[in-house]
Structures are given as C-alpha cells and as structure tokens.
Symmetry: C2
Subunit: 775 residues, 2 copies
C-alpha cells in the first residue's frame, strides 16, 4: 500500500492537482471543532467530481425510510446527518473570466492539513490565459476557541499581469444530501439579510425545524492594510453573495478575509438567531484574523500537550497516529451531552444517525483515558436519557416489562436503521452500553454514577437479555438464537459467543450492583424498584439460571471458542486465499457468498476476549487469535485495532505492528477503498488504543493502572499521556526504558511490568526493561 | 371462520353493499381468460376505497429496484405486473345528477360471480333523490372463445320516474400501479381515435415499449331494439369517452352494450394495432352480445366438462373447489409459451414478476393432470428459454462454468427480487425446476423432451448444486450453508433438509439421464457436451461424491428429519399457543421474533416428503407430519394443501379435511387477512391436488396411475377428471365405491387400492371399498 499523500510528522500533504482523487482528499483534509465541520471542498467554482459537505452537530433530518420489502418493527425514519449551508464559497474572476478549477490550468498545487495548528491550506497557481497567472493561497479553520466561528484567509496574487480580480463570496443554503432516500431537499429559506457589513442567511430543516443562521463578513487587504471596497450584493432563494472588483498589478496580492459565524436553534432561540449571529460576526471581525487564529492554535496546543503520541523512528506511524488523534478531537469535544460521535464525524454523510455502538466500544475508552471524566460521563448520560426510547424500541420487537434495546443507529434514541439482520438482530450493541458503565466507573471511580443512572440502564438491558435468551430442551442450556455479532459477515446465527458472553456478563454485573446498592443504600434501591416496577427476587431468579446455564459454542479439538453454532462446518481458509482482485469482498462478492464463507469482517470472538481478557490466560488468547486472525479480512474499520491490541497482549509484536499500521493508516492509505465517503472516525479511537493498550499494555483493573509495554522493532521510542481517576501521567517507552511521569498532583497506583508502584504527584519512575526483566 | 359470501355451488354472491369490504370483493370477483383480466372494480364512478386493476398478460414494466441497503448482486429492476388501461368505465347521470356509488343511496345490492358461465354481474338500485330510483344490472365477461374481447351488458331501468339518463363510456389509460417503487406512472399516450362507431386508445409502456390498443364500440338498446343515439365524444391525454343522453320513462330499461377489444404488441405489429383493433371491434359488434356470450359460455362448458370436481354433501367445499378451478383457468390457458402463472393472476399487482417456483411446484402438477400435455410442455419450455439468463444470474453470485440459478421472481428470465435472504439464498427453487422435468415426463411419457431440452437444464442446475455444496471437514460431509427453505420463516440457515434433498436428487437424476442419453443416443450427448462445454467424467465425480456424502439433519431421538441444523435448539411450541390477536404472526411480530420461533410458514421438510414420498414408509411420513404440523401457521397459501395431501397419505382424513378447507377457502374466507391485494392463484392448484392426490390418493409412478381414495366423513361423494399420458379418466368416490371411468380410447394402467387394472378405452372399473378391503 503506497500512500498517496506525503509523509510528514505534522502535516498531510497532497502534491499536484489530482481531480480523480478529489473526493478522497476532501475527506482526508476535513476540518472540524466538535460543533461544526466540513469536507475539504474548494472555495472556488469546481465543476468536477466532489462531495459537498458542511455539517452542524446535532442538526439532522428524519428521512422517510426506504426499503424494498417492509418488515414489522422497522422505523419510519432514518435520521440523516445533514449537509448544511455551504459557507466557504468564493468565486474568482480574472478580468471578467470566471475560474473553474476543473477547467483551468492548475500548477504547483499543494493541499495541506496542518494538524498541529488545525488548519487547511491550499497553495496553487491558475493560468487564466497566456501571461495571466494568479497564485492562490487559502487557509481556513473552524475555531477551537470559539466553535461557532469559521475563518478563511484567501490570498490572490497576480504573478504576471495588471488587471482586475473579482471576488464573489457567498453562502449557499440550497444544498442537498447525496444520501437521500427520495431525492428531496431538506432545507428551506427562513430569511436573508445582506448589506455592506455582513450577510446573513437563515434556513430551516423540514420536519425537525432546526434553524441555522450562517453569516459572513468580508474584509479586503492589500499590503497588510484593509482597503475600502464597493460591494455588490445579491440574493436568491437560500443564497446570498457579495461581489467586489479589485484592480491588481503584477506581483501584487489581495487578501480576502471571510469571517463566518454559524449559530443554530440548538443553542440560540430562533427569534434571536439573526441578532446573535450578527453580533458574533461583529466580535470576530473586531478581533481580527490574527487574534482568532492564535486563539485557535492555542487550543490545539493545549490538546496536543496531553494527547499527542510521539513516535521516534517511524514517521509514517507518527503521521498516522496524529491524524487519528486530530480527527477525533475535531469530531467530539465532550462539551454538549446532546451530541455524540458520528461514524464519519464532519467528513461525510454516509451512515447518517450520529450514534452507533462504536461510541461505547471505541470512542469511550479513548476519551476516558485522554479527557476529563465529565466527557465520558456526557457520553453515558446521553444513553441514560435515551433509556425510555430504548424500552419503546424493545416493545416494538415484542419485549415487555421495561426491557430495553438500545438502537443500532440513532440521533434521538429512536432506532433509525432498517435491515432486519442488523436492526433486530445485532443486539450485542446493548451489551456494549452496559459494559460502558463498568468501564467508565473503573476509569473514573465515579461510583455515584451507578446508583444515580447506571443501574437503571443495566436493569433495562438485563431484562432484555433475560427475555431474549430461551431455554433449549435439546441442549439443556440457554441459547440466544437469531443474532448478528460484531462480525457482520454472519447474519442470523445462533449463539454468537460474543453476544452470549456479553449477556451473561451484563446479568452478573447488574446483579452485583443490585446487591451493592441494596446493602449500601437500600432506600435508593427501593426508590428505583418502585420507579421501574422491578421486583428483585421475581426477576433475578431467571437471571441467575441464565448465568449458570448459558450455552457457549466451543471447539474442544482446537480448544477455541466458536464464533457461533456451526462455524466449523464452513470451509476454513485463510483470507490470503482471496484473490486481490476480489478484495474488499464486500465490494465484489454477493452477500450469500460472504455469509457462507469463513471470512470475518472484524473481531468477534476476539472482541469478547478484548473486553473480558482478564478471564482468560495468554494461551487461550493466543489460540483464539491464531485461529481467527488468518480468516479476518478487516473490512470493518473497527477490526485491526482490536486484533493489534490482542497481538500485543500475546507478545506478537510484529503482527501487532502490522495491524497497527492497518488501523492507523486505514484512511490515509484507503485500505478498504471507501475514503471518498468520509473518514472512519470511531475506529481512530481504536488506533490510539492499539498504541496505549496494545504496545503500552495499559489496563485499568483492581483500582489501579497496569502497564506492560512492548515496542515495535523499528521504533526508537513512543510516548503518550493517559488519565486515570483524574491523574494525568505520561509514558515513554524506548527499547530499554519505560518512564512513567505522574504530571498530576495525586498519587498514581500502577503495576509496571508486574511491579507495584505508587508514583507521587510530579514524580516519575524509570524502569530498565532489559535489566529489570532479568533481575 | 364465517364466510362473508353466500354459499352456493356455482356462484359467489355478495349480498348488500359493503364498501368496507370492497377491495376484498374486487379480488374475489375478478374475471380473466388467460390473456387479460381484471379486478371487480365498478363500472360507475366510485370515490370510495378501491384497488383499480386491469391486466394484459405479458405486459410488464421494469421498475427500478428500491432497497434500503444495496447488496452486490441485486437486480437493477423489478418487473411489475402492470395495471393496464381501464376499459370498464361507464359513468351514469340521472337528470344531470352524476352518480358516485360511494355517495349514493344503494339498495338491494347483489354482486355475483358465476363460475359455470364465467361472468361477473351486479344488480342493485340507486336512489338519486326522492322518487328517483334506478335499477342497474351489469354483466361483464372477458371472452374465453376470443380472448382479446371483453364485453359489458349494462342495463339501467327507471323504477319510478320519467327523466333523462346520461351514459359516459370511457377508456382510461392514465392509470398507475399502487405498487410502484418511486410513484411513477408507467404508461404514455401513443394515439387516440374516436368517432360515432368506436373509440380507440393506444398507449405504450415506458422502457419496455409494449403498445396496448384498447378499443370500445357502443350500442344502446330499448325493448330489444338497437336505438339511434347522438354521441358526444371527448378525449384528453390517455383518455377517450363517449357520452349519450337517453330519455327514459318510468319502468323503462335502457341497455348499453360496450364491446371492447384489447390487442397488444406482443401479438400484433405496432403499426397494425389500430387497424386490427377496429377490425376486431367490428367483428364483435357484428356478431352481437348474445352470440359472443354463448360462445364464451360454451368454452367454459368444455372446461368444466373435464375439470370440474363434484362434491356431494358439502356445499361449502363444493363452492370452494370450483372457485379454485375457475380462477386457475382464468389465469392460465397454456396457449402461449411466453406466459406463465402469476402469483396473483389477473386479480392484483402485488408480488409483480409473473413467475415463481409456485409454477413448477403447484401449477404444473395441476395442469399435467388436467390439461393437454402441451400445456405442461409450454411451462417447461418457458424455463428452457431462460436457461442462459439463469446462467447469468448465477454468475452474478460468483458461480461459473455454466452453473444455472433460476430466478426467484422473473418476467424474462432475469432475477427481479431483492431481499438477500430470498434472492440469493432461497435456492431450492432451482430444485423445483429440475423436479418439474421429471414430473412432466412421468405424466406425459414425453422422453424426447429430456434429450431435446431437459438434460441441458438439469446439467446447468446440477453444476450449480455442485458448486454450492461445500465439504465440511468437521462433519466429513457435504453441506449447503446459508439458505432459505420453502418455510420463509427461517432465513440463512445451514443444511435445510429439503434443499439438500433436492440437490442430491437433482444430481442423481441428471447422472441417470446422462447415462441414458449416452447409451441411447451418444451423438446427441456429444453434441450437448460440446455445446455447453461439459466434460462428463471431470464434472460428475464430485457429483457422485456429494450424492454419497450429503449431510441431512436428523433427530435420532424423535426419528424425524430436521428442517435445518440447530432446529431443535428452538423453543418447540404448538402454533395453538399463539394468541389469536397475534395471528397472522407476519402482520404482528417483528421478523427476528418470527425467525427464532419454531413456527413454520409452510411445508418445508414436508414439502420434501411430498416430492419424494416413495422413498419413505408411512410411519416416517406420520412421525414427521406429527412433529411439524402442530408448529405450522400456514401463513403461506402454499402450505395447507401439502399438509392435507400428506394427512390423507397417512390416513388422517379428519386433519386432511380440515386442511383442505383451509386451502380451498383460503381466499373466500380470507384466512390470512390479505385478500384485498388479490387472490392466491398458485395455491389454488394445491387445492385441487389436495382432492386428487390427497383424498383421491392419485400418484403417477412406474409408468402407471395409482389411486388410494379416502373420503371425508361428511361427504357423500366426490368425483374428478384426471389425465395420464393422453388418457382422460373420471374418478368417483363414494363411501362404498370407487368408480374409474376411462373416457379416452386408450388403455389406462392403474393400481386401484393396491389392485392392478388395465382399463380399456370407454370402460370403467368399480371397486367396492368395503367389500374389497375385507376380501
């Protein structure tokens, strides 16, 4: 796999103009700030292939479900992530000749994503006619300091002529989603205002009635001085524009600063949107580009100071991990508990709905280890608030008495998805939401959460498992029939080992916490029981029976857990036997062929071993890894990270490193031929975990941190920060040494390569791996 | 279940006006002649609920496939049965007051389907205002003698006033399908002509460019005399109409005869359609209503003379079987090898595409026993002509080297359907098409067919099975993974017993016929081998291995065949445990719940026992019946007939009778709450089989007929005609006697209750059941 982009420690660089790769690059160079974001579409007119995308977090549209064949229980709507008004537009004419980048002669093209400072830049030349070439340098960012502000610094220089440049800066709300079910547009005009100071477009979404105000204010600069201009304004339905003509001499540069504010009715009352947006624009312009930029980069500096992973000796791996950390932080900042981590963040519209089990299984562990505990709590409270809807979702499938089934895909708690094998059967998602509660508490020590929120969710989910499991008279065991596991290349299977494991774990963990709350705060437990009509002894007898008598498919000859009943009846072949021309198989094989093959899209049994690793010895992990890994095609972005972590755990550092590169450079190198649709945001968390939990061997257990670091052979060192119960610490691993630096003021309990330490605040421990291993 | 319709031996009768049941009645009272047909829509304006439906065989539209989530291999289009121009329309005004049946006062309403003579009649009164009541009597039919002609005799009588009646007879081509994927219309205008003699509308289908010419010619009659009228003609896009005003006195009746001709470009060159249609109208009108009607009824008389089943002592069963025979004969006459037996015939548009495996599994055995052998041959040749497309269908799913997978649903050989669990996995359909060849030859003795057509199809299908089966190292057996059996309440199961049985049977039967052709006509075999690139020894070694080593799931404790691997792990409960409010489960349960339940939609293992009955002893049949029957919800129309036949076979006449009523009165009593969409045409063949193969115990084997009759306790007698290799014979069964009357001129070899007979032409055998059984 050769990278299309130039390798650099802090930047992603596209050299040369590649229209055939434009959709891919639009995804890769996306920018965002957790509140809004956008694909790296060009400011200029571009009639070539492009996926326009500008997004405002939490603004969605419930698009009427489209299916070939309706099944009872399908949701009426799918919540689509909305392509929002495009505010980047700047059309350029040179001596009245309009520039279309798809038709112009472009040279010296550079597109740069600077991850350290968080901006997107393009530098290139356009030859309009003989002896008439301009150089454009545009830099834009969405502010990390003031998330409702976006900024474009757009410089045009005449290289070889005297003439007139026309700039038309616009906001276009007449946008649509590529991914619509019925080809409809989702926005309509509310109001437009435009004068010499600023332009403002307010549009509303149909059905959901979100109002989004998008404002712009322009300034033109020559020689560092703002110049007076005569603005010609236009507007039409859902569109405003300002045009300015500026004479330019050979060698002279004109800079257009486009200040943008985007406010939505999620945060501002509809009646105040116009006023507030204009006020925000005024503040921004008063502050000026330089100050806005420096405040923005200062925020990124803070983020990097505690979240950067530094790899010495492997610039490709270095670039990749920063790209992942950068995009994760662009997607979710944990400031708003109504938001979640969309699978494509602000880089594309595919998959719609903001929230998948990815959040709990991948996003949460990342944010628990890198962010303030309240970020993790926001993610959990998001689900707590959806409990009632989850009980409704379960009721639609025939469950009762408060059983909760969290949705596969959702924006507001209602299920969006409509494939029966996923929507109705991929129920392991429910387990991920239960496990998240355990994971949050072990990382943060926030036991209050269990009593206040967690247990209610756990009981809802346990009720679901209890009703969903049935007793097989044949096996004399409980079974869970008709499910789809994490490996979606199997549908409607019986006794998915991972799902059964999660079900039993959830029941046990819920029982344990019921007992704890009963003994520690019986009044609170009684309140809860009354509120959710829960009769402990009546309901939990069956739970205990299920825990004791669950069926787990097992191959006693190989001594491995079986992904599901009957897995061994397949033709077992390595993924390496699939011809390259047929990869990825999901783009080349019909679905039935995929299903009856042995090939795994992603970790399934291994996803369970990852969660419940402490229940198994290394030999068990190894046997299962060695059985499943060769059959795995990793066509889910969520796959290689988990395999990499387990490969590290069993000491297979070569394999762990190979899988790390695959997860870390999944999008940069477009392993699965789908980056054009957007980035795989949630799997990026897995990449970070592949370093910290994988190579670093970091675990949280028994109220302390464990570290068992390995280092890939071609790395000189790597270092990262992590958090545990409010304690921030830095880990650096070289070939010989592991350094743990407690940069907080509290004592860090840690087991480092099997040795117990209590590292005081601001102190460090250095362990010599070579010496100490043989001591 | 109380029938909504009045019980009568030859008629279906709706008494009273029931708008709330209108869609159901529109289905039930449908008329057709194998060439065209229609639902029982009202001639008059009716603004109430109605499913408009008029159909011309073979005219379809490839509607762009609609899915939620695309899978590789899905077809681009679904062939929709088209709602064609409506030619029944007659609007009535009384003294300029337009009648809308949904808004008028209707009394004495009768709707009658006369099955003996093949017409639809309505007699009712409409009170327009006080002292202004008319009586309408409309009778319409589509001619069995001249299938391109339709006829309405529409009589209006003034009961109590002198006034003016306005008749507006029209043809409306601006119709649409209710079942469209994108709400589009499928027809456009080609031409319109209308004058005092006739009106003609030609419309064409988009994409497929079928042209359909629909013409009408009117005559008005008072006191049996054609009266001169002044016609006012209108036309607009896709619509022509003629209006006539006729004064009427109290007690006087005016009759409008509307002659209709419908010709399509399937049979007439586009350029000649207008001329031909006008010519047909002229011929029809010259002949006149009475002659057309008598020619039509004479055809029905012929049909009934050899296809009627007469039941004495059970008028409900009598009505039901005639309804089934009537609708089957209305749907398919076997005259055109391009046509097939649509699941709803001419009674609705649901399910689209004309051809399902129903044709081979249900339709064919009926026509083989009731019609000229060339009818059966037409059905087989239809599939032979689709062999190439079936090889393409298989190739889309990754099969190669001439493997053929016949489509689940098709109009022209291409697969139409788009649910992966059906389209890609319900592959047992391929076996039905192989079995049909065997079945055709054993009924007709047409061994030529095998060499000329059959073997090529068999080899294509065998190649498919050979590639589709995989070897399980675990079981040391061949397995067929990821299939959907006939019981569609299971999806993506492994080793469906029925599918595996069919696969092995197909391979054996193909091998047997390769050997026969090799020895009997090795040149022909060589030709075939060369044409389809078939290397016998290379390819058939694996076939033999599969035949020897196929895995068949089996429960050794109950001694029953298992529907699929893991079936026993379900909670086994009788269908009687499902609350009535949750029936049918497919309208009340989510799909996952249906899938993990033990409930069968239809015969699955039993479908196999039906096909391969001679391989099993009665005890085996009985054990399997007793195991599966209680779990069967019969929510497929194709289910109860098979169960009924097997119930008869194992001597359980009470159960067989109960199931017979369920299959025979499925639509009349609307067991599955879906008659509004149209009738279950293909299952109607199963109803006939439930009498002839079930109660009558008729089998074809070893080159002769077997009969082992039983009789339901409340029947005095039943009789039917059947055919075997050109020999037509009549069977009558009473409590005591079985009479077999050979009405042909050839000798009939028959084994009657275990006794061998050779019945000469025009002779009969009478067996006294009571005496002979004890003799």
């Amino acid at each position: 796999m050769n990278s299309f982009y130039k390798t650099d420690a802090w930047q992603i660089i596209e050299e040369g103009f590649h229209p055939e790769m434009n959709r891919e690059s639009e995804s890769i160079f996306s920018i965002g700030n957790g509140y809004m974001g956008q694909r790296a579409n060009f400011e200029e007119t571009y009639s070539g292939d492009s996926l326009q995308g500008s997004y405002v977090a939490g603004v969605y549209y419930p698009d009427k479900t489209r299916v070939g064949w309706w099944k009872n229980g399908y949701p009426e709507y799918f919540a689509k992530v909305l392509n929002a008004p495009n505010w980047i537009g700047i059309n350029i004419s040179v001596d009245e000749k309009k520039i279309d980048l798809a038709k112009s002669k472009i040279s010296s093209f550079l597109r740069i994503l600077d991850m350290k400072q968080g901006y997107l830049e393009r530098i290139f030349r356009v030859t309009v006619s003989e002896n008439k070439t301009i150089e454009i340098c545009s830099r834009r960012f969405v502010s990390m300091a003031e998330p409702d502000l976006g900024m474009i610094r757009y410089a045009v220089k005449s290289l070889d002529f005297d003439g007139v440049l026309d700039f038309t800066a616009y906001i276009d709300g007449d946008v649509k989603n590529q991914d619509t079910n019925y080809g409809e547009k989702f926005w309509e005009d509310v109001s437009k205002e435009i004068d010499e100071n600023s332009g403002l477009l307010i549009t509303r979404t149909l059905k959901t009635d979100f109002h989004v105000a998008t404002g712009m204010s322009l300034e033109f600069i020559k020689d560092n001085i703002v110049i007076p201009v005569k603005i010609r304004n236009f507007n039409r339905d859902k569109y405003i524009a300002s045009s300015v003509s500026i004479p330019v001499r050979k060698g002279e540069e004109v800079v257009l600063n486009k200040y943008v504010a985007v406010l939505s009715s999620l945060n501002v009352e509809k009646g105040n949107l116009a006023k507030e947006t204009k006020s925000r624009l005024h503040q921004a312009k008063t502050k000026g580009y330089d100050k806005l930029y420096s405040e923005h980069t200062r925020e990124w500096e803070k983020i990097w100071s505690t979240s950067d992973v530094i790899i010495e000796g492997d610039i490709s791996a270095q670039q990749a991990i920063r790209f992942n950390i950068f995009q994760l932080n662009q997607t979710y900042t944990g400031k708003d508990e109504r938001l979640n981590i969309g699978p494509k963040g602000f880089t594309g519209e595919k998959y719609g709905g903001s929230t998948y089990w990815d959040t709990e299984a991948f996003g949460l562990p990342f944010f628990l280890k890198t962010a303030d505990p309240k970020v993790g709590k926001n993610l959990l409270v998001y689900r707590y608030k959806h409990l009632e809807k989850s009980i409704e979702n379960a009721a639609k499938l025939g469950f009762k008495d408060g059983a909760a089934l969290y949705p596969m895909v959702t924006m507001n708690g209602e299920e969006c998805h409509n494939e029966w094998e996923i929507t109705f059967e991929e129920i392991h998602r429910n387990g991920a939401i239960a496990f998240a509660i355990f994971n949050y508490i072990r990382h943060t020590g926030d036991n209050e959460y269990m009593a206040d929120y967690g247990l209610e969710v756990l009981i809802g989910i346990s009720r679901f498992w209890s009703q969903r499991a049935t007793f097989s008279e044949n096996l004399k065991k409980y079974v869970i029939l008709g499910v789809t596991g994490p490996n979606e290349y199997e549908n409607n299977v019986n006794n998915n080992w991972y799902t059964n494991s999660l079900a039993v774990w959830t029941l046990s963990y819920t029982l344990e916490n019921i007992r704890i709350l009963e003994s520690e705060n019986s009044a609170k437990m009684s309140d809860l029981n009354a509120r959710i009509n829960f009769n402990i002894s009546n309901e939990t007898t069956r739970w205990q029976d299920i825990i004791k008598n669950m069926h787990f498919p097992f191959d006693s000859s190989r001594n491995v857990f079986l992904q599901q009943d009957g897995f061994l009846d397949k033709e077992l072949k390595p993924a390496s036997s699939i011809p390259a021309s047929e990869r990825p198989i999901n783009q080349n094989w019909s679905w039935d062929r995929i299903l009856r093959s042995c090939f795994l899209k992603q970790a399934d049994v291994l996803q369970g071993l990852y969660l419940f690793e402490d229940q198994f010895d290394t030999e068990t992990l190894k046997r299962n890894f060695d059985f499943y890994e060769p059959m795995t095609v990793h066509e889910s972005s969520l796959s290689p990270c988990i395999y990499s972590i387990i490969a590290s755990r069993i000491g297979n550092i070569e394999k762990a490193y190979e899988l790390y590169l695959r997860t870390a450079r999944l999008d940069l190198d477009d392993y699965n031929n789908e980056v054009s649709d957007g980035l795989h945001i949630t799997s990026m968390a897995g990449t970070w975990l592949a370093i910290v939990e994988g190579f670093g061997g970091m675990r949280i257990s028994e109220g302390k941190v464990f570290l068992n670091p390995l280092i890939p052979v071609n790395w000189q060192s790597y270092s990262f920060h992590a958090r545990f119960r409010g304690i921030l610490f830095e880990v650096k691993v070289t070939k010989d040494l592991v350094t743990v630096n407690n940069v907080s003021d509290k004592t860090l309990p840690i087991t480092l390569c099997g040795k117990e330490y209590q590292i005081n605040g601001s102190e460090k421990v250095i362990l010599n791996l070579k010496v100490d291993f043989f001591s």
